[in-house]
């Protein structure tokens, strides 16, 4: 026995010593010289390249630090008017997209049943001909669902699909469709405005999550900083109206909780008071239409429906109309309802009433730069759902996906999966194997954006077009999606080949910029301007001239939102919110973003259910208990985190986790709250009403293991124990 023990120890000792040897010794670094020196590269000295961030739809300017041909660090481009040198966490983490171990490394074809997720490599040539011949076999039947790519790529996609009589949908769950629809109704303008937060003195926000993920978060974050601290004479005041205490609400001077879906009514009450107290700047001609609409609402009824006290409503109205430059904005939970567009129209009306359009501190409309072929309308979920069914377009046809993941972002209740099942061929150009790409028959992977040419036309804010250049040599056997479409056009021949005759996408981008510069400054040598644009990261004007609005639309309806699920059976409102780091799930395969603590709860690497501590205790739920959240359409299980910022009748869960595919960091982690949603739509905008499903909760009796960075949980617990848990 003793002998054996000694032997054992010896072996362990040797093992321990041995395991350390290669650990350090093996790395005895090698100095690998270049075989041929590269003129532009000095080892140890960084090259910085300007490009455009494509991690969300904003398109901030970036500069990338490249050493010995490797991208090492990304910073904001100090010249770019959108972000002025700043960058958000997603932008920082995009390096982990470039170096992600789960990138698709070459063309693949399905091996096994569709959706099984098994693939085998296929040569590029064969992949291309399979794709193109499928397109040729289905004249007029092809559908491309792409993320919005405002710029040359949008032009290429649109032209290609038009020429082959197919359809292209630019789709993105956070596209703020209701805002566009509302602006069309209120102002007669089709593009997104700039909200001049920096010069606002009183900001009244109805749920707009502009400090976490709304429209252009870096831009608004910086503007917000200037509003609060950038002016010596005034610190802008900021009131956030929303049911749940979001990160943005937590930064406000005052948070006004409100019943979900009644934000528009509150705006109507405020509007009525502004008119009543004679504080409107509205031209006389327009006034009667507004008066007529407001006449049928009474403040006390609205107070009743919204849950906001009458004195509070009066106070909000007075603060708003007495401010030097007031601004009302709406978004997030306020617009993600079945009455989202109407709500935003009612909020827009407040701006019309005080007349802050195209004034400093108000709403300004800058026409996007006249960059060629940049405008392509972004669609809402309804447009995609219309693809369903045997008589509809996508069936027995070719379905193509470019960096859109509808099988994750659309709730199963919409049965969008049908579109995949009915398609003859599903082709994806995604660099990652996300849920939708896993359903593909053919994967023709695009480069990562840091390896590609491209451009991005900024909407709203200021006239700007960012120019993206490859900052590193492509790591894998991938091809730029632009080249693929140009190549396909070439194989097609005929009209589409004629319209898209560029040899490669880089040339196409360059030619678009040549046209653009030629039109702006005829006769100027292009080469110098092109090089300057590459160095600077694009083209922009410091400040555009705002365009005047063509109409002043009064609100036309202020119905409370509809909710799916009876109040008796499903007593809770349910709000899935885009998580700060993972957004609508795109960030889930980047470890840096997974370990970014949620700003309100400090949770990392997982899902959680936010419940008001009082409610939780009523249900006998301790923090970290696994709770089942059930809607009429599905159920999820996740650990409870006490969240005093929720009203007692609202349950919230972050979006972003719960991937069934998308690589090792994302897969099988947490739950996807979108799975619970009813297929309710805000009709005027066609956007999914994310906040319109009711739920109930059930104890599971089991414990979960959420990781809270703030392990002491002091903040939350103090509230609970002191009995201040009620929101």
């Amino acid at each position: 026995m003793d002998l054996k023990r000694r032997d054992f120890l010896k072996v362990v000792g040797l093992g321990a010593a041995g395991s350390m040897l290669p650990g350090c010794g093996g790395e005895t670094a090698k100095l690998i010289p270049y075989v041929l020196p590269d003129e532009e590269i000095v080892p140890g000295v960084a090259n910085w390249y300007a490009s455009v961030c494509r991690e969300c739809e904003a398109g901030c300017g970036i500069i990338v630090r490249v050493m010995e041909g490797r991208a090492r660090k990304i910073e904001g481009n100090p010249d770019h008017p959108l972000n002025r040198g700043k960058l958000c966490a997603l932008g920082q983490a995009s390096l982990q997209g470039l170096y992600n171990p789960d990138r698709i490394r070459g063309p693949l074809q399905r091996d096994g049943e569709r959706g099984e997720g098994r693939f085998k490599p296929i040569p590029w040539e064969e992949a291309m001909s399979r794709w193109v011949s499928a397109l040729q076999k289905h004249p007029g039947g092809a559908v491309l669902i792409s993320r919005p790519v405002p710029g040359t790529l949008a032009g290429l996609f649109s032209t290609f699909m038009k020429e082959i009589s197919g359809t292209v949908f630019f789709y993105e769950p956070s596209a703020e469709r209701p805002l566009r629809a509302a602006n069309r109704k209120s102002f007669g303008i089709d593009f997104l405005p700039d909200y001049d937060l920096a010069n606002t003195t009183y900001l009244l926000s109805f749920g707009a999550p502009f400090l976490s993920h709304w429209l252009s978060p870096v831009h608004f974050g910086a503007a917000y900083g200037r509003m609060r601290q950038g002016r010596p004479e005034v610190r802008g005041r900021f009131v956030q109206v929303e049911p749940r205490l979001s990160l943005t609400a937590a930064s406000a001077d005052r948070w006004v909780p409100i019943r979900p879906g009644t934000e528009g009514l509150l705006a109507v009450a405020i509007g009525r008071l502004i008119l009543e107290e004679g504080r409107t700047n509205l031209p006389r001609g327009d006034r009667s239409r507004f008066e007529k609409f407001y006449a049928s609402f009474s403040i006390d009824r609205i107070a009743n429906e919204t849950g906001v006290a009458e004195e509070e409503i009066v106070r909000l109205a007075r603060e708003f109309y007495t401010a030097a430059s007031p601004l009302a904005i709406g978004g997030g939970i306020a617009s993600e309802q079945t009455n989202g567009t109407d709500t935003l129209v009612a909020i827009n009306a407040l701006n019309l009433l005080v007349g802050n359009i195209n004034r400093p501190g108000g709403i300004r409309f800058f026409r996007p730069s006249d960059f060629p072929a940049s405008s392509a309308e972004v669609v809402g979920e309804q447009a995609l759902l219309d693809l369903k069914g045997p008589s509809k377009k996508a069936s027995r046809s070719v379905l193509m996906l470019y960096q859109a993941n509808p099988l994750y972002t659309l709730p199963p209740s919409t049965q969008f999966r049908q579109v995949f099942e009915e398609a003859d061929l599903v082709v994806s150009f995604s660099p990652f194997l996300d849920e939708s790409t896993a359903m593909a028959d053919l994967i023709l992977p695009d480069h990562f954006f840091l390896e590609s040419w491209g451009d991005h036309v900024t909407e709203g804010i200021a006239p700007a077009a960012g120019l993206a250049q490859p900052v590193v040599i492509p790591r894998y056997d991938t091809r730029p999606v632009g080249d693929l479409f140009l190549g396909a056009a070439n194989r097609f021949g005929g009209g589409v080949k004629e319209r898209l005759s560029w040899t490669d996408y880089r040339t196409m981008v360059r030619e678009q910029w040549r046209d653009f510069f030629d039109r702006r400054q005829p006769g100027q040598p292009f080469e110098a301007a092109w090089v300057e644009a590459l160095q600077k990261g694009g083209w922009w004007k410091p400040e555009g001239k705002p365009v005047s609005i063509s109409q002043r639309g009064a609100p036309s309806a202020a119905e409370p939102a509809r909710f799916e699920g009876s109040e008796k059976e499903f007593p809770f409102y349910f709000y899935p919110f885009p998580s700060m780091g993972l957004h609508y799930g795109q960030g889930a395969n980047r470890p840096w973003l997974q370990e970014l603590p949620d700003p309100m709860t400090t949770v990392v690497w997982g899902s959680w259910v936010e419940i008001n501590p009082k409610t939780a205790q009523e249900y006998g739920l301790a923090e970290r208990d696994l709770v089942r959240v059930i809607s009429p359409y599905g159920e999820i299980e996740a650990p409870v985190v006490y969240f005093p910022g929720n009203p007692p009748d609202l349950i919230s869960v972050p979006i972003g986790q719960g991937h069934r595919a998308y690589g090792r960091y994302a897969e099988g982690r947490g739950v996807n709250p979108l799975a619970l949603l009813a297929p309710l739509i805000d009709a005027p905008s066609g956007a999914l009403a994310t906040g319109a499903t009711r739920v109930r909760i059930e104890r599971t009796g089991r414990k979960g293991r959420p990781v809270l960075v703030d392990q002491t949980g002091q903040g939350t617990r103090r509230h609970t124990e002191g009995g201040e848990g009620e929101a």
């Binding site: 010896k10 350390m20 010794g25 005895t28 090698k30 100095l31 010289p33 075989v35 020196p37 000095v42």
Partner: protein, 170 residues
């Protein structure tokens, strides 16, 4: 029997400590008596007999934090026109013909938390030999100094250079 186990454990602990220590020293500053390079390159021959300036090959030193090793192409600018080859220069030609870089073994290495730049030290008027020794007299290239913090600080003190932590650790 129990005594034996005790002794054995003690020996084990000491052994592990020694190996650990040696490895620790090695990982912060590489320690190798002599280099075992893929090609027996001689600084004595190149820098001494042929009087090639250090910076001719280590081109990065003037303009970069790292001194850098010459590209194979740079070696070949001379070696391509040599008539007589030795077994060692044949190896060089083989790398060149295969378009392969030479995997030189790295002798000097500072840990990641130290920021050192050659450029600044040359700008301040130092010679390569001040730190690296008289390589022109060495056929194989050992380390001339420890390159540990005490050694840096000594020199910084003697020359009145900054002693702030953030000078090198940032």
């Amino acid at each position: 029997m129990r005594k034996w186990v005790g002794v054995l454990l003690a020996l084990l602990v000491i052994g592990v400590a020694i190996i650990w220590g040696a490895l620790y020293a090695q990982s912060t500053a590489d320690f190798m008596g002599h280099d075992r390079q893929p090609i027996a390159f001689s600084h004595q021959r190149h820098a001494g007999e042929l009087q090639i300036d250090c910076l001719f090959c280590h081109r990065g030193a003037r303009i970069s934090p790292v001194a850098s090793v010459p590209s194979v192409y740079l070696c070949m600018t001379c070696h391509r026109s040599l008539k007589e080859q030795t077994p060692e220069t044949e190896k060089l030609l083989a790398y060149w013909n295969d378009k392969e870089p030479i995997p030189w073994v790295r002798l000097q290495r500072l840990p990641d938390f130290v920021q050192f730049t050659h450029e600044m030290h040359l700008d301040a008027g130092f010679q390569c030999a001040d730190c690296h020794g008289e390589v022109e007299r060495m056929s194989q290239t050992p380390r001339a100094a420890t390159f540990e913090m005490g050694w840096c600080i000594d020199c910084h003190e003697r020359n009145g250079a900054s002693l702030d932590c953030f000078t090198c650790h940032y």
